[in-house]
């Protein structure tokens, strides 16, 4: 779940975002009864990346932002959805582009309430923003792709 660990790190630097509130792992929350999207926000998904036996773990991560009509900020005020979509994605893009400057923070990423610890995380930009589809509720989905190399602390201990 390196994607979730990275999501926590991104949210720690973007005041508007909080995991579980408007930032989610793998998908936005869907109401199982109606199938409709319950909340707008950011979600991060996992993509396949090449690996080698002696190399570090490698993964592509896609960060999606979907802000639809009627979206509100944390204070309950209405937000202009297209502006908010780009603003959040620009903030994420800026962090990914400059991730090497945060090398000390990225030495150790964890997922709260789990035993998952990732070390020596290197987050790199892979591709810029792209407009995706339009959801049935009017939200335009935009995304960007980041690349991450990392080590998994638990597996290292097992191998050592």
């Amino acid at each position: 779940m390196i994607g979730l660990a990275v999501l926590y790190w991104l949210c720690g630097h973007i005041a508007e975002l909080e995991v579980g509130v408007n930032a989610f792992y793998e998908d936005l929350p869907i109401d199982p009864q109606t199938g409709s999207m319950e909340r707008y926000g950011v979600y991060i998904t996992t993509g396949s990346a090449p690996m080698t036996p002696n190399g570090d773990l490698h993964q592509y991560l896609t960060v999606y932002v979907a802000i639809g009509e009627g979206a509100t900020n944390r204070q309950g005020a209405h937000v202009p959805e297209k502006y908010e979509t780009d603003k959040l994605l620009d903030a994420i893009q800026g962090l990914v582009l400059n991730a090497t400057r945060y090398y000390q923070e990225l030495c150790h990423l964890s997922v709260p309430d789990t035993e998952l610890v990732y070390t020596d995380v290197r987050l790199l930009p892979s591709s810029s923003k792209v407009r995706g589809g339009t959801l049935t509720n009017g939200a335009i989905v935009k995304s960007l792709v980041a690349e991450v190399y990392y080590k998994e602390k638990e597996k290292e201990a097992n191998n050592g």
């Binding site: 090497t100 400057r101 020596d120 080590k151 290292e156």
Partner: protein, 191 residues
């Protein structure tokens, strides 16, 4: 999966020529080229050509210059790498030409996130070389040439038979302190 030689690195360059106190620069991972540090040992070969045929045999080891690519992002980074070219009054940096910029330096190539799989070169020489290129598509990158110098094992903290043998560099698990020019090896209590 565990590999001590992968992961983010920083490089510490300590100039030992400044009156023994030693000034040093630490280049963080965002300022080190992706190619990292490359050190080469080459076999010196002796070839005897006779009517019976050629016989090639090794008769020694040559130590090639190590290369390190740095990515300066400001004039202050030039100052950190080659302080002798920096002018405090104007805030400018100009390449000091002539001989080695540092004829006695310690270069420590260390992991950032843990203490494993590091390399240190003692008493090496650092030359000012490489291409200073402003380019549309690439950040400025400078290839620094580091010339290893054989040093006694005692310089690397070794004792016994190894204390008097000569080595070009050392791989170690531990932490280098540029203030004292000493390495604290993992699991070893300093005497």
């Amino acid at each position: 999966m565990a590999n001590d030689f992968t992961g983010m690195r920083k490089v510490t360059i300590r100039d030992n020529t400044t009156g023994g106190t030693g000034t040093f620069a630490v280049m963080t991972p965002d300022k080190i080229g992706a190619d990292g540090l490359s050190s080469t040992l080459e076999t010196n070969e002796l070839t005897t050509s006779s009517y019976a045929g050629d016989i090639t045999s090794p008769n020694g080891t040559n130590i090639a210059a190590s290369t390190l690519t740095l990515l300066p992002t400001s004039i202050k980074d030039f100052k950190a790498i080659w302080p002798t070219g920096y002018d405090e009054a104007t805030g400018t940096w100009q390449p000091p030409i002539g001989g080695c910029t540092s004829a006695d330096a310690t270069v420590a190539w260390e992991k950032v996130c843990d203490t494993k799989g590091n390399q240190i070169l003692r008493h090496c020489q650092i030359a000012l070389s490489g291409e200073f290129a402003f380019s549309r598509d690439d950040a400025m990158a400078i290839e620094v040439s580091i010339y290893p110098v054989l040093s006694e094992g005692s310089e690397y903290g070794l004792s016994g038979d190894k204390a008097n043998q000569m080595f070009p560099w050392q791989f170690y698990d531990g932490v280098y302190d540029p203030a004292t020019d000493k390495v604290t090896f993992d699991g070893v209590t300093a005497p």
